[in-house]
């Protein structure tokens, strides 16, 4: 049976919510530890997170080999597991194997590194959020736009707490999840944003091997082509926390009629 929002509302009035947590930096990362600390007083928390870093894994799923699940701890109000799989594997494993029913909420992160603009599509953290959304669970991903694994989280912590409290109280619209990015340092406020238009140019470091094959290491440079101050990349660079409402539907509805004219005749 599918999870229904009104059921959440009812539950929230009567019992502690069931909160699912994951990330793509791995279960031992600093960001998920803080997220767990914030969430534990607010409900029953179940964590299924990758055993190792899974950045850049996007919506990748593991089909050709088995998934190894390890129990880290299992208490009445708190369970934690690590999985040798991708973030989306973690959500699938959590929802359909670890939990006895759909959770009331999913929170992912806090990711170290920006998940703004086109990065959204490469991120394992955001993929986990979108997987939750596809399963009709109100889902939020948090990222700090600082690539350092030990980057300080003090500045964003109060806003993480506020956004969580808001979502636990008010939920989210059907079929909508949130992608939240925090700037480095002091935060000027919240700006609800859209995914910035932008792209990467890749630079490959080439190495020629003895057998004549070439191998390449992927690197690159991001270019933002969006001038709007409501573009997430720009909002973050202006010192705001950018909140992008997202959905799991790639359809470009605005060109439907144009495409019908081009292809249905």
């Amino acid at each position: 049976m599918r999870f229904i929002l009104s059921e959440t509302a009812r539950k929230f009035m009567t019992e502690k919510p069931l909160i699912f947590v994951t990330n793509d930096d791995g279960y031992q990362a600093k960001g998920i530890r803080l997220l767990i600390d914030i969430l534990r007083p607010l409900g029953k928390v179940v964590v299924v997170a990758p055993s190792t870093e899974m950045s850049g894994k996007s919506h990748s799923i593991t089909t050709g080999k088995p998934l190894k699940l390890t129990t880290i701890t299992k208490q009445e109000d708190y369970e934690e597991y690590s999985l040798e799989g991708t973030p989306v594997d973690c959500v699938k494993m959590g929802f359909d194997n670890v939990l006895s029913h759909r959770p009331d909420f999913l929170f992912a992160g806090i990711n170290m590194g920006a998940n703004t603009s086109i990065n959204t599509i490469y991120s394992g953290t955001i993929a986990a959020v979108m997987e939750g959304c596809a399963e009709n669970v109100p889902s939020v991903g948090f990222s700090l736009c600082d690539d350092r694994k030990d980057a300080p989280l003090e500045d964003c912590k109060p806003l993480v707490e506020q956004i969580i409290a808001n979502v636990l109280k008010n939920s989210l619209p059907d079929d909508v999840c949130l992608n939240v990015n925090f700037p480095i340092g002091k935060i000027r406020g919240v700006k609800v944003s859209h995914q910035a238009k932008g792209y990467w140019t890749e630079e490959f470091d080439k190495e020629v091997k003895q057998d004549g094959h070439s191998i390449f290491w992927l690197g690159g440079q991001y270019h933002c082509t969006d001038q709007s101050d409501r573009a997430d990349w720009n909002a973050v660079n202006d010192g705001f926390a950018a909140i992008v409402p997202m959905h799991v539907d790639f359809t470009a509805y605005k060109v439907m009629e144009q495409i019908k004219k081009q292809f249905e005749n």
Copy 2:
């Protein structure tokens, strides 16, 4: 410098288009061989495709290890390479390392297996198409809704040819790519569609190992919750080729004001 559409139009009038081809079933798969056969008379074709099957890899990129590129053939009007990487790695490698400038078009597939509904988000083939779209190259992915590796392609071939001819002649709207799915057997026509709402319920086969760990094999069942005959899954089941115009922007614009009210106060 970025690729500009008007430049394509100009080129198309004066010289053969540069066409990039990839897939997620691997460069030796039956579907990409047919696609290459169709495209070679129409332009200069450059193929960079995974050396092995990369289904379900979504928009995953390889950052922690090098990418091995092998030249299969290099002729004046035709080049083919295999890459030990994901489909999106293939696009990045192709665009920024193999080619001297952005291609005029990208075609991916023909994938064996449906890339309708939520499958769109897991597919490596569709990720390659969206990567092309993010790079401002008119891009189209083709899939046959038949999982068999040797599934017959005769019924969809004429439509693949028609759609390619149409896109080469008319291009596509800016920032829009196409996801084309063919039904099994005779095709009743083309239906421009939206991505169907639906979800998977996973079933995990559990195996307990000697060290006490459990391992799981991912399997699942798809459920369509979309009643519209313009939903891609339904269009295909009705015997139509479903063409979904897609964009690389996950923003849920319709709830922007609602989310602003909820989070900006």
